[in-house]
Structures are given as structure tokens and as C-alpha cells.
């Protein structure tokens, strides 16, 4: 047993944006401790696993330490792109909460 799990939801806040068939989702840590956990554990691999049913990837992670924010660029994630997608949420606005639902080690 580890010390328990924590959701990204409890560590930071998120926003999703779209460009063509690519979704970008930022995760901003609430504090320094959360920032360390996110940097260590919220890897592109972990994110792609959570988005497996939705996105093909690849996933690129950019770090912005001054803002305590990670920016994930998730390619092939929006059903071909906003203008042609068959999805109701063609912009992928709701995907920020799929990111926040990811469980990490506390």
C-alpha cells in the first residue's frame, strides 16, 4: 500500500483549447507540493493512457515553472478536427475534466 491516491482535480485546475484535430489542456498547480507531484507523475504517458479511448496521440508536455503550469498538447484528439468532428463536444471543451479525473499517488 502506498500513502493513498489523489486526483489531479485536488492538485490543480485545468482548461482545454482546440486547434484543428489537436487538443491542448493546461493543468495549473494550486501550490508547490502539488506542482512537484504533477511534474513527477502527470507524464505524457500517463495522460495518453487516460485519453486512450479518445486520442491517438502523441502527447507533448510543456512545463511553465513560473506559472506552476503544465501544458499538454494532445494530437489526433478531436475526431478529425472541430469543423468535421461527429462528436457533440467537437471543441473538446469537456476534456479538461477527463484530465482532472486522473488518479496519481499522493
Amino acid at each position: 500500500m502506498n500513502t493513498g491516491t489523489v486526483k489531479v482535480y485536488d492538485l490543480g485546475h485545468a482548461r482545454a483549447g482546440d486547434k484543428g484535430n489537436t487538443s491542448n489542456i493546461s493543468v495549473t498547480a494550486y501550490d508547490d507540493r502539488a506542482w512537484k507531484i504533477l511534474c513527477a507523475q502527470l507524464t505524457p504517458k500517463r495522460v495518453l493512457k487516460a485519453f486512450a479511448g479518445i486520442a491517438k496521440g502523441p502527447v507533448t508536455r510543456y512545463e511553465l515553472p513560473k506559472l506552476k503550469a503544465l501544458n499538454f498538447v494532445i494530437e489526433n484528439a478531436l475526431g478529425g478536427g472541430v469543423t468535421v468532428s461527429l462528436a457533440q463536444d467537437m471543441h473538446g471543451k469537456s476534456l479538461s475534466f477527463l484530465m482532472l479525473d486522473i488518479e496519481l499517488d499522493g
Binding site: 485546475h13 484543428g20 491542448n24 510543456y62 511553465l64 506559472l67 478536427g81 457533440q88 476534456l95
Partner: protein, 450 residues
């Protein structure tokens, strides 16, 4: 000779074509603004408006143009607030004329409007079929027979040129969103178009403000976790920018929403990929050094933006016809709801197949369960499930059949299916190309008497 100010205040009037009207009026009335910028063009809007213009040569501008100007013109004229907007869409000249008619109806006999043209490069694209698509490298040639529009994202220089005419309103088609804002600073603060330290500040300001309420509490609230004041009346942002390049974002004190380091941090990364290289027609912005500091309630200071010189090309969005999407929905609730929805799906699929229709892509959603984040694992069955089936086809008949077969479940389908709906829409897709700047010829003309 132009007289430049040491500080200007620029407000956002709209963050998308269907945005609320009254926050702009509030800013125009009591915001002490110099400029009010309305960003109203999504990627495919111009393609759609080109189709409108084909039917009516007077139209082809953004649908809410008249309502917006009717609402804000009185306060803007009274307070000397100049308006910059891309509401011209596929017909900036037609938009300018519509604005002038509306002004006249409001008692402003001759409202000069500067019109920026040259973003429409459909002819240039037709004459250069070899240009490669950014998405897949294939030549643009294959899209030409289905092309509905081709427009470059112009930069802040054309906004400066429009403002330099002295007209109270600058009307454009496609201009990059941050450039609409940066242009007011080039003009109002006398910034040079090669002073990249300043272009960085103005581009950052534009990027933070272009989606209006998204930096002042919109797309932010999560009740009990991240709340804000008066979410019914969220105020739109303004920026105070000084000639030497300081930037403070604000919103009016008794407007709703919030403006703080959290809202700014979410918005700075919105639609951002590599944070060292946000490419606009004006510069390549690097936000990795940006810091936000709360100055007071509703005011945030942003520092640390950097920029590299602009690229030698303009980005072109090509809009083209890409077939149809047909869809249908029906809801089930109570015991065995999911199983009934799944049977309904099976029936529709088999009937479409039996009728000889095939589709390059069919999507099935169980709304309430899997429509937004997919089926996941271990998800419990909800009390209600709404089945949605959508499919694309180049053939209108095949697309129509999807909704038809969902509709016929009304009397032929599983038990207890209710609240059906169905429809079809024409798809206007977009792809991008880059073209050398020298190919693009812009012009600024003025409608009315200065």
C-alpha cells in the same frame, strides 16, 4: 502628425460571434476606454458567410453585426471610444455600409468607417495549386473544386493603418485575433512594428483578451471549488497599456466574474501549443517568462513576455465543402435503459446497411454515459440514456437516412423510447496553407466623410 498617448485603455467587446451584448455596452459607457475590440470570427465563419454573400451580395458579415453596433454606438460616439472589429467576415465593405445605415438610424448622420480588405486570397490560392497543406503536405489543388473561401490572417499593421485614417470604426475580415488588439497599441502608443519587446506585450494582451470573459471568470467556475462573484453578469476585460510596455488587465469593479492570477493562467495557455513559439502574423511570442501579479481586486499586472521576429509567411485558412453529417437521437430511462438504447443502435445500423448505405465514419454516443469522455472502464449504468447516432457521407441522401432510421424507432423501436430528434448539416471543413507575404496586397478605404 499623430499625437501618441502615454497610456491607452483597450477593452474587449466580444470574444466570439454569438457573445453577449451588454458587457460591451457597460465597458463603453463607464470603462473610460480608448478602443473597444470585437473578435467575432471562428475558423470556418468566413466560409459560411461567403455562401451567404453568394445569395445576397449585401450580406456576408457576422450575423449580430447590427445588434452589436446598435447597442454600443451611442456610448462609443459619446465617449470617443473607437471600435475595431473583424465582424466584416466575408464582406467588410458590406458590413461598413450596414454599420453606417444603423448609425444614421441612431441619429449619427455620417459615421466614417475604415474598411480593411485584402485578406481574401481565393484567387491567389487558385493560381498556386501547388501550395502544400499544413495538415498533410498534399497540394491544395485537390480542394480547389470544393473551395468556399481562402483568407489570410492579417496582422496588426492593417489595424494601425485603419486607425490612422481617423475613422471612429475599423472594419476588417480575417485578421489574427491578438493583432486586432496590438494594432490599437501601434497606433495609440506610437509603437514601431519592428520593436519586438513592445509587440510581445501587445500580443500577450491580445491573446489574453481575445476570448473576452474567458479571462474574467467565464469557462472557469466549478461550484464549491472555484467560484466567482455574480456569474450571471460577468464583465469583459480591458487592458491598460503604457508606451514603455507595461500591461495591466482589469475589469469594471461592479461587474460579475473574477480577474486574478488563476483566470489569467488558464487563459494564457488557452489554445497554446509550444509556449516558446506562439506564432502570429506580427511576431513569435514566448510566454515562458510571463508572471502575473494581483495589483488589486479585478486588476492583474502581466510581465515577462518576449518575442522573436515574425515569419516571412501568412497563414491562410481554406474553407471547403466536405459532405454532410446526419444524426438522430432518442432517449430511454428506467430499468434496462442501456440495453434498449443498444438494441436501438443495432436496429438502426442494420437498417442502414440493408438499405445499401455505407459511411466512412459512424459515431454512437450514449449521452449521460459516454458522449464526452468515451466509455471508460467500470462506469455504472445511468438511470437515463440518450442514444445518439451520427454519420458522415459525401451523399446527402445517405446522411438524411441516419436521422430517418432513428426517427422510425418512434413506432418501430424498443419500448419506451422518447424525445427523438434528427437532423442533417452541410460540413464546411478547413485546412491551412502558408503563403509568402509579398503575394498579399491589402488596402484601407474609408466609407463616409472624414
Amino acid at each position: 502628425m499623430a499625437i501618441h498617448k502615454s497610456t491607452i485603455r483597450v477593452g474587449t467587446g466580444a470574444g466570439f460571434s454569438d457573445d453577449r451584448i451588454e458587457p460591451a455596452v457597460d465597458l463603453a459607457e463607464r470603462g473610460k476606454l480608448d478602443y473597444l475590440v470585437f473578435e467575432c470570427l471562428a475558423e470556418r465563419t468566413i466560409a459560411r458567410e461567403n455562401l451567404t454573400r453568394l445569395k445576397d451580395p449585401e450580406r456576408g458579415y457576422t450575423p449580430y453585426l447590427v445588434e452589436r453596433f446598435q447597442a454600443v454606438l451611442p456610448a462609443c460616439v459619446k465617449n470617443g471610444v473607437r471600435i475595431v472589429t473583424n465582424m466584416g467576415a466575408a464582406n467588410p465593405l458590406g458590413a461598413a455600409r450596414a454599420v453606417r445605415r444603423e448609425a444614421k438610424a441612431l441619429g449619427i448622420a455620417d459615421l466614417p468607417v475604415a474598411v480593411v480588405t485584402g485578406d481574401d486570397v481565393a484567387d491567389i490560392v487558385r493560381n498556386n495549386p501547388q501550395l502544400p497543406l499544413m495538415e498533410n503536405g498534399a497540394p491544395v489543388e485537390s480542394l480547389l473544386p470544393r473551395m468556399a473561401s481562402a483568407n489570410v490572417y492579417l496582422g496588426a499593421d492593417v489595424i494601425r493603418e485603419g486607425l490612422a485614417t481617423g475613422a471612429p470604426v475599423v472594419m476588417t475580415g480575417r485578421v489574427s485575433d491578438p493583432s486586432l488588439f496590438l494594432g490599437t497599441m501601434l497606433h495609440g502608443l506610437g509603437w514601431r512594428y519592428d520593436d519586438y519587446a513592445k509587440l510581445a506585450v501587445g500580443t500577450l494582451a491580445g491573446h489574453l483578451m481575445e476570448c473576452a470573459a474567458q479571462v474574467t471568470g467565464g469557462c472557469f467556475i466549478d461550484p464549491g471549488k472555484k467560484d466567482c462573484d455574480d456569474p450571471v453578469n460577468i464583465g469583459f476585460p480591458y487592458a491598460d497599456v503604457t508606451a514603455d510596455g507595461s500591461l495591466t488587465l482589469g475589469k469594471l469593479d461592479d461587474s460579475g466574474g473574477r480577474l486574478d492570477v488563476m483566470t489569467c493562467t488558464e487563459q494564457i495557455l488557452y489554445e497554446m501549443h509550444d509556449p516558446t513559439s506562439y506564432i502570429t502574423p506580427d511576431c513569435i511570442l514566448d510566454i515562458t517568462g510571463v508572471d502575473f501579479k494581483q495589483e488589486s481586486k479585478n486588476r492583474v499586472i502581466a510581465t515577462g513576455a518576449k518575442a522573436r521576429p515574425r515569419t516571412p509567411t501568412y497563414k491562410v485558412v481554406v474553407g471547403y465543402h466536405d459532405g454532410y453529417i446526419g444524426e438522430g437521437e432518442v432517449g430511454y430511462a428506467g430499468p434496462n435503459a442501456l440495453a434498449r438504447a443498444k438494441l436501438a443502435e443495432k436496429i438502426v445500423r442494420e437498417r442502414l446497411q440493408k438499405r445499401g448505405f455505407t459511411y466512412p465514419e459512424i459515431r454512437v454516443d450514449y449521452i449521460g454515459m459516454s458522449s464526452l469522455h468515451g466509455m471508460g472502464t467500470g462506469r455504472t449504468e445511468p438511470y437515463e440514456v440518450r442514444l445518439r447516432i451520427a454519420a458522415r457521407s459525401p451523399d446527402r441522401k445517405a446522411a438524411l437516412a441516419v436521422g430517418f432510421e432513428v426517427r422510425t424507432l418512434h413506432v418501430n423501436g424498443p419500448s419506451g423510447g422518447g424525445g427523438g430528434s434528427n437532423g442533417i448539416r452541410e460540413v464546411l471543413a478547413v485546412k491551412s496553407i502558408l503563403i509568402p507575404r509579398h503575394m498579399v496586397k491589402t488596402a484601407v478605404t474609408v466609407e463616409g466623410t472624414l
